[in-house]
Amino acid sequence: MNTEINATLDARGLNCPLPILRTKKTLAQMATGENLELVSTDPGSLKDIDSFCNQTGNVLVENSNSDGEFKFVIRKA
């Protein structure tokens, strides 16, 4: 899938709840419809980012996992 990325956030090495808090902060500076790419190493972020998107209405466009790194693409609502 070819998704245009407007901002990236490196949350590798950070633990709960920091990936969520940084995501929220970064999204706040973005415009509706823009995509944020997030990379994290916290296994808890897998479920937490999903839940965050459900609660806030932002859309989890992509979600992949390789070598203990989790990549998410979130579209700001």
Binding site: L14, N15, C16, P17, L21, T23
Partner: protein, 199 residues
């Protein structure tokens, strides 16, 4: 069915009425802002985490959040945080080294209570090691989480009675404290909240 609903449903088609009702309910749910109130009663390094983690995360989810700090929880609002942890009488606390090779960091050291209570400085050493463990694992410091909460408009309120009880000085506390209140002011807030926790 209430009289109003009955009156409405006789004038309207039943299906139409149900549809209208579901729509109104969905609108109300969509407009509702979730809220969380927390009572923070503990002032140790380990127990400082749950209120600030839950509050900052709830704020990130767009919830309204208020924390009521009472008794030892008030130490979490001091300008200068000096939080410690005691392994003494705390059998669930893992005693592991944050330094050295991996295999060594996994060893749980079984230190007798008599040693913990008699060795001077044991508690500050344990607190130092815990802080090191937290930073090694990429867990935020309490200072950091607290700053995030303030930035995210989490309402911090403090218990007036505790300050008087322990002869504390209001000047030692953060200026960001929004109010000094008692139980009668907190309870109506908790009553309205969707989630209310005692920590």
């Amino acid at each position: 069915m209430s009289q109003t609903a009955q009156a409405l449903s006789t004038q309207m088609d039943q299906d139409l009425f149900n549809h209208w009702f579901d729509e109104r309910m969905a609108q109300r749910e969509a407009d509702h802002v979730s809220s969380l109130t927390i009572i923070a009663t503990k002032g140790t390094l380990d127990m400082a985490y749950p209120p600030f983690i839950l509050a900052s995360t709830a704020a990130a989810l767009g919830w309204d959040v208020q924390i009521f700090f009472t008794f030892y929880g008030l130490s979490l609002l001091k300008k200068d945080l000096e939080l410690g942890i005691s392994p003494l009488g705390n059998p669930a606390m893992p005693m592991k080294m944050p330094y050295g090779p991996d295999w060594m960091q996994k060893i749980h050291m079984n230190i007798p209570n008599a040693v913990m209570s008699n060795v001077p400085g044991f508690e500050s050493m344990a607190s130092g090691l815990m802080k090191k463990t937290l930073s090694n694992k990429g867990v935020a410091s309490i200072e950091e989480l607290r700053a995030i909460c303030i930035e995210a408009d989490v309402k911090l309120v403090a218990c007036q009675m505790t300050v008087d009880l322990f002869n504390m000085d209001r000047d030692d506390f953060m200026p960001e404290i929004q109010d000094w209140i008692g139980a009668a002011s907190f309870l109506p807030e908790a009553q309205k909240a969707d989630v209310s926790l005692f920590i």
